[in-house]
Amino acid sequence: MALLSKKDANLILDPLADNNPITIQVLGICSALAITAELKASIVMSISVIFVMGIGNVVISLLRNVIPSKIRIIVQLIVVATLVIVVDQVLKAYAYDLSKTLSVFVGLIITNCIIMGRFEAFALGNGVWRSFLDGIGNALGYGVILIIVGFFRELLGSGTLFGIPVLGDPIAKTGLYSIGYENNGFMIIPPAALIVVGVIIWVQRSRNRALIEEA
């Protein structure tokens, strides 16, 4: 990354692993549970969050010296909500099919605490370029977890990826199903996402023991 200094590059790379918003900072959990039953939905959500966080962090960073601290939470929430509504309306007018896929996520993006969390923790105190990188980095870290969870839940729960059967046909008993494999219906209910995230945390902290919490 010749473009970025080492410090700047870390803003993007840290959230991907050792400072992941979901598994370490505990931000943005609700949406990680709600929409990861399918890989496609996970990817759409990740892209929307990357977009909203990148722009949102820039806007908050630009405004950071003029926002009165008493009402900063309101201002932050309104910036996110406005951004999301603007995107939603523009898509409805110019890319209607895409907007139908996205409209389900509008509420989830506004209430996604990862966005507020980074506004508060980073953008309010840092310059525009660094805030932008921080936004993109955290959104990517969030997206990585979403996609891993979505991959396992769709594969184990429905036997498909992107809606395409990959393990054979469960009704006609072909492929893996012919030797007695069954889809695990538990994987598609939301509590299963919690368990998958728990296992991801387990794997991550086994590999990097510095992250283990003191009990």
Binding site: A34, A37, P68, K70, T82, V86, A93, Y96, G107, G163
Partner: protein, 247 residues
């Protein structure tokens, strides 16, 4: 600049409200015509989809006819549009724009309702297309149902506002909607509807007389919403349906 003063806070909030308010209001009014047009095309596509005018191939997903031809096709296949007011049929070529949700809630309050009906004709066979509206798990679900004069379903289209992706959202997938084709709405003499059932032991959907289709695993409430929506549609349109059957 002292950003902690009360007067500054008040001024800041007023300016913010004005900026945000005008941006949103401007967007909403500037984009309204385009959004309305998109919504109109979508409704026409959905109605045609329910009566079997679509670009599906046996293994494809849901493919509507393209938006640039939908208006012409709609005029070609939909022969008549009516609204049912107090049991009277009134011809209305804008019937497809009627908001079903408003009509149903007005009916519930004991008021008047304008219930749209579309009569389509495909390869010489007439179908009667009824709009539906109901509630899923999170928010509204709606759709269209095309029936013939024997109350056999020719096709359906379902859509939803915010059902869970991968679960309830699958009501708009072909594997679910296709199951309704050929199902009879009648059981003996009564309007039984079609229920989304977990217990019908017919996953391949071969029994078309059982008034049931196979449910989507994990989407109980959305499925129940679909069953209830079909029942309610049959209820409000019953006088009209009786009429088609006796003719």
């Amino acid at each position: 600049m002292n950003t902690e003063k009360n007067s500054y806070t008040v001024i800041f909030s007023i300016v913010m409200v004005m900026v945000v308010g005008s941006v949103l209001a401007f967007l909403a009014s500037a984009l309204r015509p385009r959004i309305d047009e998109n919504e109109r095309f979508e409704k026409q596509q959905n109605i045609l989809y329910a009566m079997g005018i679509n670009e599906n191939t046996p293994d494809s997903g849901v493919n509507f006819i393209p938006t640039d031809v939908v208006e012409g096709e709609f005029g070609k296949y939909i022969k008549e549009q009516y609204v049912l007011v107090n049991g009277e049929m009134v011809a209305d070529d804008q019937a497809f724009l009627v908001d079903m949700k408003k009509q149903l809630s007005s009916l519930k309050d004991g008021g008047e309702a304008r219930l749209p009906i579309f009569i389509g004709e495909k390869e010489g066979k007439k179908s009667y297309i009824l709009p539906m509206h109901g509630k899923g798990l999170w928010d509204a679900i709606w759709g269209f149902m095309a029936v013939d004069e024997n109350m056999v379903i020719q096709g359906v289209y379902f859509d939803h506002k915010a059902e869970t992706a991968g679960l309830g959202a699958n009501i708009k997938m072909r594997f679910f909607m296709d199951d309704f084709q050929g199902e009879s709405l009648l059981n003996g003499g009564s309007y039984e509807g079609v229920v989304v059932s977990k217990t019908n032991n017919d996953p391949l959907n071969q029994d078309k007389e059982d008034n049931a289709v196979d449910a989507i695993a994990g989407a109980t409430i959305t499925g129940n919403g679909v069953s209830a929506m079909i029942k309610e549609t049959l209820k409000v349109y019953r006088p009209y349906l009786d009429n088609i059957r006796t003719n």
